[in-house]
Amino acid sequence: MVNVWEHVDPRGEALHFCKIHNIQGTVLIDATGEYIARLGLRGVPHNVVVDKKGIVQAVGVTTPDEVRATLTKLLLPFG
């Protein structure tokens, strides 16, 4: 997960958020929003799905239906 556009105390806010929502796993901080800007994204939440070759397969996919459909596709052995 990548935390963006926090404005004030990004690390503290991200830690607080992850504690409240019981989020485990890697969280990175894009404090200036420079990286998300390079991807041309202008909102949150946003998911970017990357395949084994480092190629972007999907952008967006945040609703439960979208996530289900995309993950099914991505997890296929030859997908």
């Binding site: 997960m1 990548v2 935390n3 963006v4 556009w5 926090e6 404005h7 004030v8 690390r11 806010e13 991200a14 830690l15 607080h16 958020f17 992850c18 890697t26 969280v27 990175l28 901080i29 894009d30 200036t32 929003g33 420079e34 990286y35 998300i36 800007a37 390079r38 991807l39 041309g40 994204l41 202008r42 909102g43 949150v44 939440p45 946003h46 998911n47 970017v48 799905v49 990357v50 395949d51 084994k52 070759k53 480092g54 190629i55 972007v56 397969q57 999907a58 952008v59 967006g60 945040t62 609703t63 439960p64 239906d65 991505l74 997890l75």
Partner: protein, 352 residues
Amino acid sequence: MTMSDSFPAPGAIPVGHGPEGIAVDAESRRGYVACARSNSVAVFDLDSREVVAEVPVGREPIGLVHDRQGGHVFTTDARSDTVSVIDTATLKTVKQIPVQHYPAGAGFYPERRKVYVGNTADNTVSVIDADRLEVIATVPAKTAAGSLGSDPVRDRVYCVNFGDASMTLIDGQTNEPIGEIKLDYAPCKIAVDAPRGRAYVANSLVSTVAVVDLDRQEVVETLTVERAPVGMGLGRRGDRIYAANRGTGRVSVIDRQTGREWARVPVGKAPGDLAVDQASGTIYVSDAGTSTVSVFQDRLDDEPSELPSDWRHPLIGKPLPPFSLPDMVDGRPRTTEEYRGKKYILNFFASW
């Protein structure tokens, strides 16, 4: 970073950090926006589009309502468990009213002179007398009670419960909970069209707007919008519904009669709330990601010849641009190299 990413869109008003709840007053030509990460309210002039004051309030103000008759602005200070009251003549905070835990939503019922506050962590609604500036009732609602809207035609107030997919109905006079309407998943913001007997509810996690029949007390239609709508507003002639999409930085313009999304207007990044100047029809959007208020006018008279279509993001099929970003826990840089040869999902999020 490109120029367009580093600077606010033309016409956008720079305000404090993380703007959320917003209200505009056509008569005094002033706008008010709660800046959640600056713990203040930015007061701006609707004509010069300049901030004229920054008024300190409690911690993390999210909801905001304006009471023209009483000359007050109320903010719900989520991390202070208070409602701050600003005198709009002196632009000073004159009172902080204790409410319950994590108040995140606000609604105003001018005919009953009551301000309603959704205490998100306590699943309750505090009712405040807008003149005495005191809590007069605490009403039980459901999980993550938040956004509120009033209905003078039916003398009711509606509170949407984000965590319960429902709306609690509160009697305008007695403050008693009098019923519940089942909603879609993750109702986040409500706009009430009392004369037409409709409420519009933004369901942020499923990217829809539910149309609620307030007499039949049920969802009669579900409209699809772009992504993660969290702000709702009604056009001044009652012909338009606006939804601010936090997920894409655009406002969906919806024709009320057909329910069709007519246009998607680019605003700042990750917009939150929106307000409509009922005199000019101008729309003001709080851009939480850019810390601006975007301003636009809806000049569509008829259905446009081209409706927005789902475009394919230009990144799809291309290599992910490499990143090197600090880890939240220890600050060490993490890079794309670590994930070489793996399938993964990058989820971009903000705490607000």
